[in-house]
């Protein structure tokens, strides 16, 4: 297990390096002169030359990448051209909000597991068909639109939840209320997917001999379902949860914009619109790195879920 963990960790390094190369290249090979963009339309030729020299834009691309990587390793992500603030400090302020959004949405997503188990215990019943058809709708609903619908119904019409933003401190009634709608918005798609996957996994497993044996020896149904059957359907579910975490991080970009949450995703979008490339680069690298690391954890969790898995 230790060797496998180390090997997976080493394998993640080239992918992480690739992520930095890609992020760097996407923004540096873009059409247009970054120095001109930073200087603005009124900048003189001398000012543009100065910007180019200060940001090392006159150096070869590989040198620029090397500098970028070296700074990245020293947690130096550069400075925002819009706000004259370091990218790192901007991310530090916003990261906790994005983390809260990701964790609360993941909790909503996890509700898909009991729903899937419920549907599988009564296959083709009215509740099963209802649940599966509703989950199909859940997969197809655009999350930004769901967010707007929830705001219209629960904030504008009923006044139950705030329209926008997180209320700090979060561990108060107002704080918790402000987390509900964004979490439902971002977690619903994943919940629907997990419910469908858990149901089909459970249906496969419930016909197996060991489940019949567990029932024959008189175990309560709850123990049969959750201790014997569910555990064996968890590997594909955990895989999807890991992959879904990426969708969740991407979705955070949208949800933060809908609910005006001051997070990393919204920062990325605002920076793109303002052409503040250092901030875009920093946000993208942060989100993509988190995604790679979460997938690594998912891989490592397989062995814990199913000890029969042997890693060569």
């Amino acid at each position: 297990m230790l060797i496998y963990s180390l090997r997976r960790l080493l394998e993640a390094i080239p992918v992480l390096l690739g992520v930095t190369v890609l992020t760097f290249l996407i923004l540096h090979l873009a059409p247009g002169d970054p120095a001109q963009l930073i200087g603005g339309p009124t900048a003189t030729a001398q000012e543009i030359a100065n910007i180019r020299q200060r940001l090392q834009l006159d150096r070869p691309l590989y040198v620029q990448y090397g500098t970028f990587l070296w700074r990245l390793l020293h947690a130096n992500l550069g400075e925002s051209i819009q706000r004259r603030e370091t990218v790192l400090s901007m991310l530090e302020v916003r990261l906790p909000n994005t983390a809260v959004l990701a964790v609360t949405s993941m909790l909503v997503t996890l509700l898909g597991i009991p729903l899937g188990v419920m549907a599988a215990t009564r296959p083709n019943s009215v509740s099963d068909l209802l649940l599966m058809n509703v989950s199909l709708l859940g997969v197809s609903i655009p999350n930004f639109w769901l967010g707007i619908l929830l705001i219209i119904w629960f904030s504008v019409d009923l006044g139950w939840f705030p329209v926008a933003g997180y209320h700090h401190p979060l561990l108060t009634l107002a704080g918790l209320e402000s987390m509900v709608l964004p979490a439902i918005t971002l977690g619903t798609g994943g919940m629907a997917l997990v419910a469908r996957l858990t149901r089909s996994g459970m249906l496969d497993v419930l016909g197996q001999d060991y489940v019949r044996t567990a029932r024959a020896k008189g175990l309560p149904e709850r123990a049969v379902l959750f201790r014997h059957a569910l555990r064996n359907t968890m590997i594909p579910v955990v895989t999807v949860l890991g992959l879904n975490f990426g969708a969740l991080l991407g979705g955070a970009v949208v949800t933060e914009s809908v609910f005006a949450i001051n997070g990393v995703g919204r920062l990325a979008v605002d920076s793109i619109l303002a052409r503040d490339y250092a901030v875009v680069q920093g946000s993208v690298v942060l989100i993509a790195t988190t995604f790679v690391l979460v997938n690594l954890l998912v891989d490592l969790s397989y062995a814990l879920l199913n000890p029969t898995i042997r890693y060569a």
């Binding site: 709708l137 197809s140 609903i141 619908l149 793109i272 619109l273 490339y277």
Partner: protein, 289 residues
């Protein structure tokens, strides 16, 4: 593994069996009807629209749905909402289809090269893994950030975001047939590699690719709408559905229908292609249900 299995499974299954399965699937029927409505709306937009989607009537701003002459109401500029939504169907379908086609073309080429030539497998799949390491929408956003905000760039961004999965599915399918007898026969007959790839292998790996393309159409339409909603895609006054919802956010209190209506259109379109893709996959490979 599963994609390879799908290919091998798909070959002996006759077309009529697949059609029979599709006919029995209620999801397919619902998906086909919904997709037909969207396609007809897009094609017949000039005939069905009661007004020019860009015509601003300042005497009739924010008219609610059901107003005579404006079945779905008007927006803040007095533009007819129904006409804008019908024209929006054209944009969504065009963006969805062209981005999937571009992603499929590039993804299948790279997937075939990786699956067929062992020495190309590792470098291509490494680039693929890096692309997959980006949460999809984030990759699309980064590409739009580099290329600039426009509908054309959204097509390119959504296509690039589709390439890794098309490449992965194609590679898996090619690996499944690369050592098959009919490929060995083609080699023995002296066929050149491009001919083997295009004439012998490609027809045998198409079914998982087509199934994925139909599912991808839903995701692509959704991603494009999301980018426009964020202000990174179609720009006002374009009647693109995501952009319409973005502009309608200011009127959540006074005219919530402006946000609801284009959202319903996106939802129905995405649902239609999800249902079609799901039922097509089930019909070609019943074990995947």
């Amino acid at each position: 593994m599963s994609t390879a299995a799908t290919t091998v499974e798909a070959r002996p299954r006759s077309g009529s069996k697949v059609v029979a399965r599709l006919k029995r699937s209620p999801h397919f029927l619902v998906g086909a009807v919904l997709a037909l409505i969207v396609v007809v709306a897009a094609l017949a937009a000039p005939l069905l629209s009661p007004a020019d989607p860009y015509y601003q009537d300042y005497a009739a701003v924010l008219q609610p749905p059901g107003t005579p002459g404006h079945l779905l109401g008007t927006d803040a500029f007095g533009r007819d909402q129904l006409s804008r939504m019908l024209y929006g169907a054209r944009i969504s379908l065009a963006v969805g289809i062209s981005s999937v086609a571009l992603g499929l073309l590039v993804g299948v080429v790279f997937g075939m090269l990786a699956g067929y030539y062992r020495r190309l497998d590792r470098p291509i799949m490494m680039i693929n893994d890096i692309l997959i390491a980006f949460p999809g929408i984030l990759l699309a956003i980064s590409i739009v950030a580099a290329l600039g905000t426009s509908l054309l760039n959204v097509i390119v961004a959504v296509a690039i975001f589709s390439i890794p999965t098309f490449a992965r599915i194609t590679r898996g399918a090619v690996l499944g047939v690369r050592e098959a007898d009919f490929v060995a026969s083609a080699h023995a007959l002296g066929s050149a590699d491009p001919r083997i790839l295009l004439r012998t292998i490609l027809p045998n790996i198409l079914s998982p690719v087509i199934v994925y393309a139909s599912l991808r159409l839903a995701t692509s339409i959704l991603t494009a709408a999301t980018l426009s909603f964020l202000g990174l895609g179609a720009q006002p006054p374009s009647p693109e559905w995501g952009a319409m919802i973005n502009q309608a956010r200011t009127y959540l209190y006074s005219a919530p229908y402006l946000s609801v209506e284009p959202g319903v259109a996106i939802f129905i379109t995405v649902l239609a292609f999800n249902l079609l893709g799901d039922s097509l996959r089930d019909a070609l490979d019943p074990r995947s249900r």
